[in-house]
């Protein structure tokens, strides 16, 4: 079937990010998500190419079929037509650490070139300038899910050479480090930002450019990146959203709580 792609001026960057996130989910997968863009991406995947995906929220909602946008991971809205409502030991312990979760979706305040993530402190541990929310279930998810998709905004102060605090381990400093640390999960596989998508070289585990969003130059990506980004010989433009995806996406968040409507 031929895909009916929207034109670059017919969607917003946040919409493109949600579509990229959704496409990272395969049909039938068990998906562990947080609120915000990850939740929207998972809901979009379920209503398009991955109807058999099962969405798990760490507070205890399992196989959620929410129809309203939730603000909290424990929001009663996520209980709508869920198959079960249990608790943290069930989701983070038995499901996740037990090895049943295919993909985890997380956000990050800082990420480095090996996919290590900080969501705890900005500044020094002794005298931080900002105290962020902390791990929550983030470290648990990044430790144990089979693969990880990160969604975040692309800024120099967020894409850093050295993290202020390692909340969650990506590949630390290269191949074998996760295994040596004793982690069971596969680690980060994709980073979706407002400028591009990045993945990790399977040999070196170093972050590399995968696709650039339409209208964004390589120069602009590099100017907003604080670490050394591996650039492959040819980099394609990010696949555009289809009209179908955009229609469904806009129906998921009709009031623009996480994705403000395009003007």
């Amino acid at each position: 079937m031929k895909k009916n792609y929207a034109k670059p001026d017919e969607f917003t960057t946040l919409e493109l990010m949600a579509v990229c996130g959704a496409r990272a989910i395969k049909n039938g997968e068990v998906v562990f998500v947080g609120t915000g863009l990850p939740m929207i991406a998972a809901m979009l995947a379920k209503r398009t190419h991955a109807p058999k995906a099962k969405i798990v929220y760490e507070a205890g909602f399992i196989d959620s079929n929410a129809i309203d946008i939730a603000l909290s991971i424990a929001d009663s809205r996520l209980g709508y037509r869920a198959s079960a409502a249990i608790g943290l030991i069930e989701t983070l312990g038995l499901l996740l650490q037990g090895g049943h979760v295919d993909v985890g979706f997380v956000g990050a305040a800082q990420i480095d070139e090996y996919g290590n993530i900080n969501t705890t402190y900005i500044g020094s541990f002794e005298k931080p300038s900002v105290r962020l929310p902390g791990s929550g279930g983030g470290n648990d998810i990044i430790s144990s899910a089979r693969r990880i998709v990160v969604i975040m905004t692309h800024e120099k102060r967020k894409m850093v050479k050295k993290l202020d605090y390692i909340t969650s381990l990506g590949y630390l400093d290269g191949p074998g480090a996760r295994e040596k640390a004793g982690l069971i999960g596969g680690g980060p596989s994709l980073v979706v930002t407002n400028l591009c998508q990045m993945d990790f070289d399977p040999e070196t585990k170093h972050i590399r450019l995968a696709t650039i969003h339409p209208g964004v130059s390589l120069q602009h990506v590099l100017e907003n990146t604080g670490f050394d980004l591996t650039i492959p010989e040819s980099v394609s433009t990010t696949e555009l959203p289809t009209y179908e995806e955009l229609d469904i996406l806009r129906a998921i968040d009709p009031h623009g709580i996480y994705i403000p409507r395009p003007k």
Partner: protein
């Protein structure tokens, strides 16, 4: 057959908060916006409790209030924020002042620490936290976590210390006066947390007849054996939510967030909604019946 009389564990919110001395260690129930013991936080502020240590997974406006009013000085937790809105405003300020300290774990680590306490074992193993600053950096605990090799398989695990706090405070939809508690929707870490405390105070939206609980015993997640006291406290999580009972009041939460960005704004909020009223009922009267009724769950939706 001899029928035992139904034991009555009911006390008032004021009496319950009075049992908690300065410096006590508390398991703090609820998760995110779901079932936080908000009314208990208010009462601790009214009674000017000080230097509490709070153990929880992820909490929000409730522990921000405890921080703002200098009720709590130490936290062992995994997450705090006003989800969907921003960082917890009072906690930011109190950290800068040095008035509170936070020891960071993950949600699974905290939940397992409560399970360990409830099981009566000194630590629990898990496969999270490995290789991170969550293990490497300690704020105030002498020992926070330890990476060891499993004596049976040789694989690396992190050991985290179990928690047996002085009190566990949980807010549930229904309890009978004997203390049999039922929770609708997600349980977060309350099932383990309630069992970890040396004394357990269960706040509830409603106290129901014990025959009602006994007609659906499979819904009971905290049996009365664990429970010390029961407190009837309708709208006890407001402005947050209780599954099947009421939705959150985002207008109030946003107002709190905006206002508490400054110390003056927080003091104004505290005076107006917490210390300026005598008790929880007066607080609810201040919010007003019309506003509360609008939040009631529209069944079959649980919100």
């Amino acid at each position: 057959m001899v029928e035992a009389p139904v034991e009555d564990k009911r006390i008032t919110l004021k009496e319950a908060a009075k049992m908690v001395p300065d410096g006590a260690h508390l398991f703090w129930g609820g998760f995110g916006f779901q079932r936080p013991p908000m009314a208990f936080a208010h009462e601790l502020v009214r009674q000017k409790r000080r230097n509490l240590t709070i153990y929880t997974c992820g909490s929000e406006m409730d522990i921000d209030i405890l921080s703002g009013a200098y009720v709590a000085s130490r936290f062992e937790l995994a997450f705090f924020a006003i989800e969907g809105i921003g960082l917890a405003p009072n906690i930011q300020r109190r950290i800068r002042e040095g008035a509170i300290q936070i020891e960071d774990y993950t949600n699974l680590a905290m939940a397992l620490r409560f399970l360990g306490g409830a099981l009566g074992v000194p630590f629990m193993p898990l496969k999270s936290m490995l290789g991170t600053d969550l293990v490497a950096k300690t704020r105030f605990r002498q020992k926070k976590a330890e990476v060891v090799k499993c004596p049976f398989t040789g694989e690396k695990v992190v050991l985290v210390p179990s928690v047996r706090p002085d009190f566990s405070i949980v807010h549930v939809p229904r309890v009978d006066r004997e203390g049999n508690a039922q929770i609708d929707g997600i349980k977060g870490e309350d099932v383990e947390g309630a069992r970890a405390g040396k004394k357990v105070i269960v706040m509830a939206e409603e106290i129901v007849d014990t025959e009602f609980i006994r007609s659906q015993p499979d819904q009971t997640v905290i049996p009365n054996i664990y429970v010390t006291h029961v407190v009837e406290c309708p709208w006890g999580a407001y402005p947050m939510m209780v599954y099947n009972y009421y939705d959150y009041d985002m207008e109030h939460v946003r107002m709190y967030y905006e206002q508490c960005k400054t110390e003056e704004g927080w003091q104004k909020y505290r005076e107006e909604y917490i210390t300026g009223v005598d008790n929880h009922v007066e607080f609810l009267q201040k919010i007003g019946i019309e506003r509360l009724l609008k939040l009631k769950a529209k069944k079959p939706l649980p919100y």
